[in-house]
C-alpha cells in the first residue's frame, strides 16, 4: 500500500514545480482533515486553516478592492476588484463605486473553486487570482462569496450566482461608456466553473446578456466511471472518493451524479440547441481525473451549435493556474485576455471600418502638413 502511494506522489511531483506541489499537497492534506466519513464537514477547522486577506481600498500593484453586501438576507458578500487609474492612483474611499470610464470595460463575475465546500472570496489564493485577472483583462472583477455545501446544498450556490449577476447588471457605475450596458463575463474554477455554466443557463430567458463563460477545470461528473477517472484516480492529489463526497454534499439528498447540476449533458440534462448561450472558453488539465466529463461538456456545447474553445493542457494538474510559474499558466492567461477583449471588435467588417478610419485620419494630417508647407 505504501509503495503504491509512493509511486503516485512521485508522479505528481514530476509534473509540477516544487512550490506548486507544496501548495496543492497542502490543500489536499487540509481537505482530507475536513471531510468526515458521515458526510459532515469540519467548518470551524476549515475556516481556521483557510488563509484569508481583507479587502484593500489602497491599490496594490495597480488593483484595489472592497467588499459589498449584495444581499443582507443571505449575508451574500462579493469582493469587487478595480484597476487604479493613472488619473486617480489613490481612490477616494467615498467613491469606490465611481463609474467606469473606458469605452468598454469587461466585468468578470468570478466564482471561486473549492468543490462547493471549501474556500471563500477572501481566500488569499482567490484574492490573488482575481487581482491578476484585473491586470490582465483591464476588467472589473466581482468575486462572489456564495454559500457552500454541505450546509447549503443545491441550488444555493446557483441562487447566489444569479443574485450577483442581477446585481452586477443593475449597477450604473459598471456600464461601459460605449453602449451604457454592463459587459458581463462569468468565470470560475472547479465548482466555480460549474456555477458559471448554471448561472449562464438561468440568464438565458432573463434578458441579461452574458458575453462569455470562462471555465477553468470545471467540476462536472456523472454516475458512470469514465476512463480518465479510473486511470488517474489518486494520482495527482485528487481521488474519486473525494469527488464522490463533494457531490453527495452538494446535490440534493438522494440524488445521484446524473442530476443535471452535476451532469448538464447527461440523461437528465437540458438541450441547448437553438438557445442563445454565451461563447465558452473551457480549460481542461490533462492530469485531472474528471477530464472526460469536461471534454463531454465541450462536446455537448458543440453538438448544440454553441461557440466553444477548448484549451487542453496536457501536462497540467489541477490548480496549475494558482501560481504563475509554469507555461500552462501563461498560455491560459493569454487566452483569457484574448477571450475577454475580443468583444470590443465584433466583426471583420467592423475591423475593416476601423482601419479605414485610421487611414483616413492619417491622410488628412498628411494633407494638412503639405498644405501648411
Amino acid at each position: 500500500m505504501a509503495r503504491r502511494n509512493e509511486v503516485k506522489l512521485n508522479e505528481c511531483k514530476m509534473a509540477v514545480s516544487l512550490s506548486t506541489w507544496v501548495l496543492i499537497s497542502n490543500f489536499k492534506l487540509a481537505y482530507n482533515l475536513l471531510r468526515r466519513p458521515d458526510g459532515t464537514f469540519n467548518r470551524h477547522l476549515a475556516e481556521f486553516l483557510d488563509r484569508k486577506v481583507p479587502a484593500n481600498a489602497n491599490p496594490v500593484d495597480g488593483v484595489f478592492s472592497f467588499d459589498v453586501l449584495i444581499d443582507r438576507g443571505t449575508s451574500l458578500l462579493s469582493r469587487i476588484y478595480r484597476p487604479a487609474t493613472a488619473e486617480e492612483p489613490q481612490p477616494n474611499i467615498a467613491e469606490l463605486e465611481k463609474p467606469v470610464t473606458a469605452e468598454v470595460v469587461p466585468v468578470i463575475i468570478f466564482f471561486h473553486g473549492g468543490s462547493f465546500a471549501h474556500s471563500s472570496a477572501n481566500s488569499a489564493t482567490y484574492d490573488t487570482l482575481c487581482r491578476r485577472l484585473v491586470s490582465l483583462c483591464k476588467a472589473v472583477v466581482v468575486s462572489v462569496n456564495y454559500r457552500r455545501a454541505p450546509e447549503n446544498r443545491y441550488p444555493c450556490a446557483y441562487d447566489d450566482g444569479w443574485t450577483a449577476l442581477k446585481w452586477v447588471n443593475s449597477r450604473p457605475w459598471l456600464q461601459s461608456q460605449k453602449d451604457s450596458k454592463v459587459h458581463i463575463y462569468l468565470a470560475g474554477d472547479s465548482s466555480g466553473g460549474n456555477i458559471a455554466h448554471h448561472v449562464a443557463l438561468r440568464a438565458i430567458e432573463s434578458g441579461i446578456d452574458v458575453l462569455g463563460n470562462i471555465l477553468l477545470n470545471p467540476m462536472f461528473g456523472g454516475q458512470e466511471r469514465t476512463e480518465s477517472e479510473k486511470r488517474l484516480d489518486g494520482k495527482y492529489c485528487v481521488t474519486l472518493r473525494d469527488r464522490d463526497w463533494y457531490w453527495r454534499a452538494y446535490l440534493p439528498e438522494g440524488e445521484d451524479r446524473d442530476h443535471p447540476a452535476c451532469n448538464p449533458f447527461g440523461p437528465n440534462g437540458r438541450s441547448l440547441e437553438g438557445i442563445k448561450f454565451p461563447k465558452s472558453l473551457v480549460v481542461v488539465a490533462g492530469l485531472d481525473l474528471i477530464q472526460d466529463w469536461q471534454l463531454a461538456y465541450v462536446e455537448g456545447l458543440k453538438k448544440a451549435g454553441q461557440e466553444v474553445k477548448l484549451l487542453y493542457m496536457e501536462q497540467a494538474t489541477i490548480g496549475f493556474f494558482l501560481l504563475p510559474n509554469s507555461n500552462h499558466f501563461h498560455t491560459v492567461t493569454d487566452e483569457i485576455t484574448k477571450f475577454v477583449s475580443s468583444d470590443c471588435i465584433k466583426t471583420i467588417g467592423e475591423r475593416i471600418m476601423q482601419c479605414i478610419g485610421a487611414l483616413l485620419c492619417v491622410d488628412y494630417v498628411c494633407l494638412f502638413k503639405c498644405f501648411l508647407g
Binding site: N5, M14, L45, P54, D67, N327
Partner: protein
C-alpha cells in the same frame, strides 16, 4: 522547453520537472533550493503561506511523510487530528506539518530527560477527551447560579457531543506551550515538544534575538498578504443607497474643510449633513449624526470637557457587552490564552488593566475551578479610573468576585487600584511574588491605545509590565488606524470603522441595548474626531503597529489556536444577526470582523528574554 516569462517573477523558478530523468530528480530539487536566496518564497507568501525557499524541499518531504502516515493509520487516527488536535498558525507550514507528524508519530525511544514522556503524555491526553477538558464558560453574573447547579461531570458529558451546550463550552489545551524556560540554543537535539514551541518563535538562522523573532518589515509581496499593514484599508459597503452615498460625501467634504481650516464652509456643510441625515434610515443616520456632532464640536471648539460620570460609563459598557459580541469575544479569547498559560501552575495572579465591572473573570475562575487537579489560588489585581462620587467601585467589584469565588471554591485574593492613567503604575505597588511561586498574566482590553496620546506613556507601561515577569500578556485592541497625523485620514478611517460597527448593531434584539451601545461608541467617535493631543485617547492603531511596538519593547507572540477559534466562532452564532460576524486567524492572533471587515483583534505575548531562570 522555452521559458520566456522570467520577467514576471523576481526569482525565476526552474520548475517543471517533466521530462527530468528520475535519477536526476533529487539533484534538481536540491539545486532549486540552493539557487534561491534565504528569504520567503514570494509566490507562496502571497497565497498566505510563509515558507522559506530554502525550506521548500523539507516542507515537501514532510507533506509526503504525512501522506504516507495518513494512509497507514486508521480513519480514527486522522479524525483525531481534525477534532482533537489543536492547530496553530497554519501559515507557518513547516511547523504545522511537524506538529501533525508528532501527533501521529510519537517518539518511540525514551528520552532520559523525560521529554518523550511529555510528548507521549500529550498524545495520551488527546484520547481522554471529556475528563481532560478545561472548561471555559461564557458566564456573566446573572448566569452564575444557573451554571453552578450543573456538576462538573455533567458539563463534561455535554462536552463530548458535537453540538456543544454553548453555556459550557469545553476548551482543550493539549498542545500546551510548555512554560519551563528553554535554553534557546537547543535545536534539533531537543524533544519534539520543545522544538515545536521554539520553531514557532524563532527563525532558523542563527541565535535568537528580538530581531530574529521579529524580522524587519517583510518584502512587499509578503506584506500584501493578509497581515494588515498600516496602509491596508479594508472596506465593506453595507449600504449602497443613494442618500447614504451623498451623506458620506458631505461628511468627507466637511472634514476636508475643517482640515483646511475653512470653517465657514465647514459650518455650512455640517448643517447640510444634518438635513441629509434625517432622510436616512438605520445605521448610516446614526453614524452620520455622531460624526456631524463631533465635527461641530471641532468647528465651534466646544470640546467634551468633563469625563463621564463613572457609573454612567459603567452602564454603557455593560449594555455594549450585552448587545454585541465584541467584548465577549475579547474576554473569551483572552481567557482561553490565559487558561493555557496557567496550566500546571498552583498560584496565579491576573493583573487587569481593564477592570470595569470585572465581567471577564467569572468565566476564567469557573474554568480554573473545573480544571484537572483542582483550581490554583487565584489573585486578581484590577486597575480603573477614579469615580466621581467617591464610591470605591473597584472594591465593590472585588467583593462580588470574592463571593463568586467562595461559591466555586477557589482561593481568591483581590486588590483594586485607582489610577488616572496606567502610566502612573509602578511595579512596586503590586506586591509581586517570585515567579516560581506565582504565575502572572497581564490583561488589557481596549486600554493600551489610550496611552498613545501621551508621549512616553506606552513605553513606561511596557517596562512596568516586563518587571511583572508575566507568563502571558493578553491584548485586545480595535483593528483600525485612528492615530495618524493627518486629520482627514483619521476621519475617513474612523467613518468607515464605526459605520461597520454600527451596522453590526442593527440586528440587536433589544432596542435599549442598541441605543446605549450607540452612545458608548458615539463617545469614542467624538474623541477621535474632536479631540487633539493628550485628550485624544481613542487613538486606535492597527495590529501591525502594535506588533512593531511590542516586539521593540521585548515581547514575542504566543499563538492562539484552533480550539479558541472554534469556540469563539460558536460564541458568535449566539448573537442575533450573527451571520455577519466572522472570526479569522492571522499569524496566531484572532480577529473578529463584520462581513469580512476585521474590527477587533486578540493577541497574546510573552517576554522575549526571560531574565530569571527557574531552577530545575
Amino acid at each position: 522547453m522555452k521559458r520566456d516569462h522570467n520577467h514576471l517573477q523576481p526569482n525565476p523558478d526552474p520548475s517543471s520537472l517533466r521530462g527530468a530523468p528520475s535519477t536526476g530528480k533529487a539533484k534538481v530539487w536540491d539545486e532549486e533550493s540552493a539557487q534561491q536566496d534565504c528569504g520567503m518564497d514570494e509566490l507562496l507568501a502571497v497565497l498566505g503561506y510563509k515558507v522559506k525557499t530554502s525550506d521548500m524541499a523539507e516542507v515537501a518531504r514532510k507533506l509526503e511523510q504525512l501522506e504516507e502516515v495518513m494512509c497507514n493509520v486508521q480513519d480514527d487516527g486522522i479524525s483525531h487530528l481534525a477534532s482533537e488536535t489543536v492547530h496553530y498558525n497554519p501559515s507557518d507550514l513547516s511547523t504545522w506539518l511537524e506538529s501533525m507528524l508528532s501527533e501521529l508519530n510519537p517518539p518511540s525511544t525514551f528520552d532520559p530527560f523525560g521529554a518523550a514522556g511529555t510528548a507521549a503524555a500529550a498524545l495520551d491526553d488527546s484520547f481522554l477527551v471529556p475528563a481532560e477538558s478545561s472548561t471555559l464558560t461564557t458566564l456573566d453574573f446573572d448566569n452564575i447560579n444557573r451554571k453552578h447547579q450543573k456538576s462538573g461531570q455533567q458539563i463534561f458529558e455535554e462536552a463530548s457531543c458535537s453540538d456543544y451546550d454553548l453555556k459550557a463550552i469545553p476548551g482543550k489545551a493539549i498542545y500546551s506551550q510548555k512554560t519551563q524556560p528553554q535554553t534557546h540554543d537547543s535545536s534539533s537535539s531537543s524533544t519534539p515538544t520543545n522544538v515545536k514551541s521554539e520553531k514557532r518563535f524563532k527563525s532558523t538562522s542563527g541565535p535568537p534575538s528580538p530581531s530574529d523573532i521579529f524580522p524587519p518589515p517583510p518584502p512587499p509581496a509578503a506584506a500584501s498578504y493578509g497581515i494588515p499593514t498600516a496602509s491596508t484599508r479594508p472596506v465593506v459597503l453595507v449600504d449602497s443607497q443613494e442618500n447614504g452615498i451623498r451623506l458620506v460625501h458631505a461628511l468627507m467634504a466637511c472634514a476636508e474643510a475643517v482640515q483646511q481650516n475653512n470653517l465657514n464652509l465647514a459650518e455650512a456643510l455640517v448643517k447640510q449633513i444634518g438635513f441629509l441625515a434625517i432622510s436616512q434610515a438605520g445605521a448610516m443616520r446614526k453614524v452620520a449624526t455622531y460624526f456631524a456632532e463631533a465635527l461641530a464640536r471641532r468647528i465651534y471648539r466646544f470640546y467634551p470637557q468633563n469625563p463621564l460620570d463613572h457609573s454612567f460609563s459603567d452602564v454603557l459598557h455593560m449594555h455594549f457587552y450585552e448587545t454585541c459580541p465584541y467584548l465577549k469575544f475579547a474576554h473569551f479569547t483572552a481567557n482561553q490564552a490565559i487558561l493555557e498559560a496557567f496550566e500546571g501552575k498552583k498560584r496565579v495572579h491576573v493583573i487587569d488593566f481593564s477592570m470595569n465591572q470585572g465581567m471577564q473573570w467569572p468565566a476564567l475562575m469557573q474554568a480554573l475551578a473545573l480544571r484537572v487537579g483542582g483550581p490554583p489560588a487565584f489573585r486578581l489585581t484590577g486597575f480603573g479610573p477614579p469615580s466621581h462620587d467617591n464610591s470605591d467601585h473597584l472594591q465593590e467589584v472585588g467583593c462580588k468576585l470574592a463571593q463568586f469565588a467562595k461559591k466555586i471554591h477557589v482561593e481568591f485574593e483581590y486588590r483594586g487600584f485607582v489610577a488616572n492613567s496606567l502610566a502612573d503604575l509602578d511595579a512596586s505597588m503590586l506586591d509581586l511574588r517570585p515567579s516560581e511561586v506565582e504565575a502572572v498574566a497581564v490583561n488589557s482590553v481596549f486600554e493600551l491605545h489610550k496611552l498613545l496620546a501621551r508621549p512616553g506613556a506606552i513605553d513606561k507601561v511596557f517596562s512596568v509590565v516586563k518587571q511583572m515577569k508575566p507568563e502571558l500578556v493578553t491584548i485586545v485592541e480595535q483593528e483600525a488606524n485612528h492615530n495618524g497625523p493627518v486629520f482627514l485620514d483619521r476621519f475617513t478611517e474612523s467613518l468607515h470603522f464605526y459605520s461597520t460597527l454600527f451596522d453590526s448593531l442593527e440586528g440587536s434584539v433589544s432596542s435599549q441595548d442598541k441605543v446605549m451601545s450607540e452612545v458608548y461608541l458615539g463617545k469614542q467617535i467624538c474623541n477621535v474626531v474632536a479631540c487633539e493631543g493628550v485628550d485624544r485617547i481613542e487613538g486606535h492603531e492597527s495590529l501591525t503597529q502594535w506588533r512593531n511596538r511590542l516586539s521593540t519593547a521585548g515581547f514575542s507572540p504566543v499563538h492562539l489556536g484552533s480550539n479558541a477559534f472554534k469556540q469563539a466562532s460558536m460564541l458568535l452564532a449566539l448573537f442575533a444577526g450573527g451571520d455577519g460576524y466572522g472570526v479569522e486567524e492571522n499569524n496566531g492572533c484572532l480577529m473578529l470582523g463584520w462581513h469580512n471587515r476585521p474590527l477587533i483583534i486578540t493577541s497574546a505575548w510573552k517576554l522575549t528574554n526571560k531574565t530569571t531562570a527557574i531552577s530545575q
